[in-house]
């Protein structure tokens, strides 16, 4: 019963096809998002980051000018 809490992660997804390569997500949460060198499209470095990343991930999702980032699951 002392195993790490499985629920204590986020689950996020990105829709690359919508991405407009603004890079705001990388500025907000560089440990979670990057951009492809050739076209600037978002790269999701960690689709299940720890709950501690919740704040910056939500910031990135809100700042994205193309609604690319979705938080599928968050610790309640």
């Amino acid at each position: 019963m002392s195993a790490p809490q499985e629920g204590a992660t986020l689950e996020i997804a990105v829709d690359e096809d919508r991405c407009v390569a603004a890079g705001h997500c990388v500025v907000a949460a560089p440990e979670i998002f990057d951009q492809r060198e050739e076209d600037g499209v978002v790269v999701l470095l960690d689709p299940r980051p720890p709950a501690t990343a919740q704040d910056t991930v939500r910031e990135a999702a809100l700042l994205c000018p193309a609604a690319v980032i979705r938080v599928l699951r968050a610790p309640s």
Binding site: A21, A22, Q35, D39, R58, L62, L63
Partner: protein, 408 residues
């Protein structure tokens, strides 16, 4: 009923206010009014992916139904604000409903500007809403010759999309270059070359004075020289005017937008965000109004923070605009003011892949990426925020009038 926060306009800016408030833990009541009947949607795709048919219109929606439900806001679609009583903290809708509020946020955006003097006729279009995009798409598909009036971001994107649909496209623009205000003359000339190579007939230095028609249907565009450019469809993309008609007589100061201080406050308990907000106004300065997608979100989030005492100072954004035309992605951080010296900092003009720096008075004021998104993000940090009162273009600067200096 009285809402703790009443937001007028549920596009990107209004939505950001509501989401920002919840993110900061706000548990009060939020009412979001939207004059359109569509749930919140994004506008940049309307001249590109939705107009060219790659996306079904519903894909432009900004949030899923579940995400909107989770917001816990009273979202009222088809609710058009008609009058505002600032001292009484009351807003009246077109249907007579009266709503009270503790705090009001105006996020009503723009109306498409039209050419003076003529009522709309069949075959003449403007593009602002999702419905406009569907109508314009049908019009483009039915047309052979298309004339686009205005070579701003919207006009240029529509022209590129119409070319992609195989139409004969003419663009008329009173200025000497397309996107002059955004890119300056040197890079504007690059964009002109891109359009011309793709078969757009680009007529710069050509003011349009009106539409010609026959039996209620558009037949062309008349230019200042008296010439008529024949067209089956005409798109008027000559900018927007802030949607503030309903605020006349409210006591709010209106000056090409809702005039706000540097914290986006227009009056006690009244704020404005997005395209409609002229912020940073004060003694001796008219303030700044930004018409871009990113500002709508950033300003919405700023005001949400400000309402909860969490903003870290005045609103001082670095403007960011992007546009996609003929497969070329152009991104502008900051501004390229008239008279700025523009220099290629990375990449090359010949390859059409470069980063350009705009410098005014020895200060970097803008960074333009041309098919170079990956390299651009870090440049943003070099820029200082937009000044509340943009200085008039200096006529005494020692830099020559817009130079474009070579590949490194």
């Amino acid at each position: 009923m009285t809402a703790d926060v009443l937001v007028v306009g549920a596009s990107a800016g209004g939505l950001a206010v509501a989401e920002g408030l919840r993110r900061h833990g706000f548990t009060g009541t939020i009412t979001l009014l939207e004059r359109e009947r569509e749930p919140p949607y994004d506008r940049p795709p309307l001249s590109k992916q939705v107009l060219d048919g790659r996306w079904p219109p519903e894909r432009a929606q900004l949030r899923t139904g579940a995400e909107l439900d989770a917001l816990g806001a009273d979202l009222r679609l088809g609710a058009e604000a008609a009058a505002l009583d600032v001292p009484g903290h009351r807003l009246t809708l077109r249907d007579g409903t009266v709503l009270g509020y503790r705090t009001l946020v105006l996020a009503t955006g723009l109306h498409a500007r039209r050419l003076p003097g003529r009522p709309p006729v069949a075959g003449a279009y403007t593009l602002r809403s999702l419905g406009d995009s569907a109508r314009l798409r049908a019009g483009l598909l039915a047309a052979r010759r298309v004339v686009v009036v205005g070579a701003g971001v919207l006009g240029c994107e529509i022209a590129a999309t119409a070319r992609g649909l195989g139409r004969e496209v003419t663009v008329v623009e009173p200025a000497a270059h397309p996107l002059l205000g955004l890119l300056g003359p040197a890079l504007g000339a690059e964009l002109a070359a891109l359009h011309t190579e793709h078969g757009v007939r680009l007529l710069t230095d050509t003011p349009a004075t009106g539409l010609t028609g026959e039996a209620g249907r558009v037949t062309g565009v008349r230019t200042a020289s008296g010439a008529v450019l024949p067209a089956d469809a005409v798109v008027v993309a000559v900018g927007g005017r802030p949607a503030t008609d309903w605020l006349a007589g409210s006591g709010l100061t209106l000056d090409d937008g809702v005039v706000c201080d540097d914290r986006c406050r227009a009056a006690p308990d009244v704020y404005a965000v997005g395209d409609v907000a002229r912020f940073g106004a004060g003694p001796g300065t008219r303030g700044v109004r930004l018409e871009n997608r990113t500002n709508a979100t950033e300003q919405g989030l700023y005001v949400a923070a400000e309402l909860l005492g969490a903003a870290r100072g005045p609103y001082r954004p670095v403007p960011y605009v992007w546009t996609d035309q003929f497969g070329t992605r152009i991104q502008v951080h900051g501004t390229v003011p008239a008279g700025a010296a523009v220099r290629i900092a990375e990449g090359s003009l010949r390859e059409r892949k470069f980063v350009a720096h705009a410098v005014t008075g020895g200060r970097l004021v803008g960074v333009v990426g041309w098919n170079s998104p990956g390299r651009l993000r870090t440049a943003r940090a070099l820029l200082t925020a937009v000044a509340p009162a943009p200085a008039p273009p200096s006529t005494t600067a020692t830099t020559p009038t817009t130079t474009l200096t070579g590949d490194p």
